[in-house]
Amino acid sequence: MTTLNPEMSATINSTSHEHHHMPPRGMMRWLKTTNHKDIGTLYLWFSFIMFLIGGCMAMLIRVELFEPGKVILDPNLFNQMTTVHGLIMVFGAVMPAFTGLANWLIPLMIGAPDMALPRMNNWSFWILPFAFSILLSTLFMPGGGPNFGWTFYAPLSTHYSSDSTALFVFSIHIMGISSIMGAMNVIVTIFNLRAPGMKWMNLPLFVWTWLITAFLLIAVMPVLAGVVTMVLTDKFFGTSFFDAAGGGDPVMFQHIFWFFGHPEVYIMILPAFGIISSIIPAFSRKKLFGYSSMVYATVSIAVLSFIVWGHHMFTTGMPLFSELFFMYCTMIIAVPTGVKVFNWVATMWRGSLSFEPPMLFAIAFVILFTIGGFSGLMLAITPADFQYHNTYFVVAHFHYVLVTGAVFAIMAAAYYWLPKWTGHMYSFKLANWHFWCSVISVNVLFFPMHFLGLAGMPRRIPDYALQFANLNKIVSLGGFAFGLSQLLFFALVIKCIRGGESAPAKPWDGAEGLEWTLPSPPPYHSFTTPPEVE
């Protein structure tokens, strides 16, 4: 390029522009694509497939727990199912879905032609299918796949695990590399490709929250890579990082893991905050309340996330001082999180509300995520945590923030931007069915888990005492209904891609942002000339 003089390159561009930049057809289009929309689509489909695979595992778990006694899974297989379900949902469903949304939306929202590092973008997606093929293949090996919980506490994951642990470690490494590359791309794009005139304090909140998420990813994914590597060397190369007999400490594993793990929790929820902050104003036809406090709240949640990891470890025998420190820090997180919820409610207050499918999911998000926040606050109270910890109360808590939080936000995003992506409107009727089936069944699924936990039912057990039988049956029925409801979503998306009423550039009258200035679907290179932002 540098050898060409400007005149020549201009000629080349003007003559070969059209066919040079059109995507090749067939498989090669997807394999070699460097286009942010194609890669976004790949991420989103990948995430949905993983959601279904992880969901099938959840269904098996709920069948096993349908009644006391062995139903279909022996305990070893049950442990593999809970472990791989967790890993798939966290690393395969939720995180790639957000990366897919980032790919699709960030260039559109900031007025850029594409992501800043398109080839790395291709690479960061295409290593993911390999990571998950490796992980899933372990289930079919002698001794089975990982069976030590997605938190893989040592020494259960070292001396007491099957040999497929090595493959588990490699797959986590690949996922981590993919996440870091995705995060770098987001940061570089946002710093360099904003439309002229787009200042930091008028970035769309989805862009803000993703920027902060990307920094969290870069900070903690290497920590995860470190801890899995230590597990690998402890198991196969005779080191003793986590083995007291060799001078190590099994609790150190948990410190390192949760130093990654707690920011990871916010990695999975901050972009969701950004989505909800886009949707609620659009369907309230009113500007977002407290834009700047939203930004500051997100930053403070991100900073606090680094000093609260100990609240996952209150029962490990920490000294009193540490318990108090982590309790206070954890409680403080309720303040910025509360600010966000209050801001959303204030945005709705005296708005002009309508209830299209994205708004339904956004409202469900606010209510149900807040319930998850309440149980989080209860869990922060250290003495009470000794009664909640490792019971179904915790399972209820994190499914409220991850399923009715992160997953509902992803659904809301899909319903909000699907017309933009496909150029077609989708069936509101089907979407409403999907919403109501999901929101009812998800509560039948997760709400009774609070009570099971309070009654003392430990998590990760394949069989349980008789007093837990009735509620477990209800939970399982809710689970099956929730799982089936997601097939409606699948049908709706396929239908929407294949056809339907054409979507206008801006299908929602209250929507704001640069993405709505482009036609639906947007041109292959989103903004070839940067738009002017006032």
């Binding site: 442990n79 036809r285 005296r350 003495p383 430990p458």
Partner: protein
Amino acid sequence: MYSNTKRLLISVGLLLFPIFVEAAQLNMTKGVTGISHDIYHLHMTIFYICCAIGVGVFGAMIYAMLRHRKSQGHKAANFHESVKVELAWTIIPFLILIAMAVPATGTLIKMDDTKDAALTIKITASQWKWHYDYFNKGVGFYSILKTPQKQIDNQQAKDTDYLLEVDKPLVLPVNRKIRFLITSEDVIHSWFIPAFAIQKDANPGFINEAWTRIDKTGVYRGQCAQLCGKGHGFMPIVVKAVSGKEFDSWLKAQQQAKLVAAKSAQAALSKTLSKADLMKEGQNVYLAHCAVCHQPNGMGLQGVFPALKGSKTATGPVHDHIHTVKFGRLGTAMQAFSKQLTDEEIAAAITYERNSWGNNMGDAVQASDVHKVKQ
């Protein structure tokens, strides 16, 4: 139309009612200790605070959803910030949190004080059983799940205390301060007994402390709370709390029983049992202690627990076999059974393993053979 809606609501209500009744019985236990009462009250306070905030937040949302609808022609207002309001909902939650942190800190400090205990119990976890040692009293025993495999496999009706019953419960006195020292021999377990509000991890190579003072006699049940492998759901905790007097006489009886047991173990060394007797006892021991990993058919679990059928150990020199069972294999899930089983039981189990599932070594291992093998 109206009556239909009403009927629907009533039937949904009736449908949900049993769920509420069921749920109401499943609140956190008040427990039977001072600390567990404190924690119950902390739990209820924070719960009510959350409910109050929830009513406010969700109430405002629902009001807006009903009254500020576009379909009713409501026009959107124009406000989008207010320093006063935003400050208020930053500061007020902060104050509520401080009010909550104060009693929580008090309880936590109380829980941390393990001084001046009248009795110390050392709890050692291993896959998948608990060992209780009455410190300096010369009494200690394993506590193992009593529920038969047949109930788990649905071939037998389940007891009321299905999966929450053990062969020997931990016996403790009421109204005395009891200190627990908690550790593990293999992976991390967690000793969780809601009635005392104790959940403390058993970490291999480290010792954790906890304490309790039980107010009421009775039987209290809990379970291992930390994923510890295949048998995680099958290592319950049962505590029998008795009066101080009863406890003292129980302890004395245990000490005497231990002397008797030592004598009979000594006697067993000079006994020679027939192979048939050894096989019969061996099967019982094997099913109770070995089958959980190596499986009743001796096939193990491929890639996790080795098969004994045709294995090098079970069909090799008897000395190595005894050594493995007595002292375990370091760095694997194979435990040292010399502390859990008598020489006679080990001899019987080994005889059984060497002569079952097609293994055909023909030898009858005696207690004295086991006794001779040293580490």
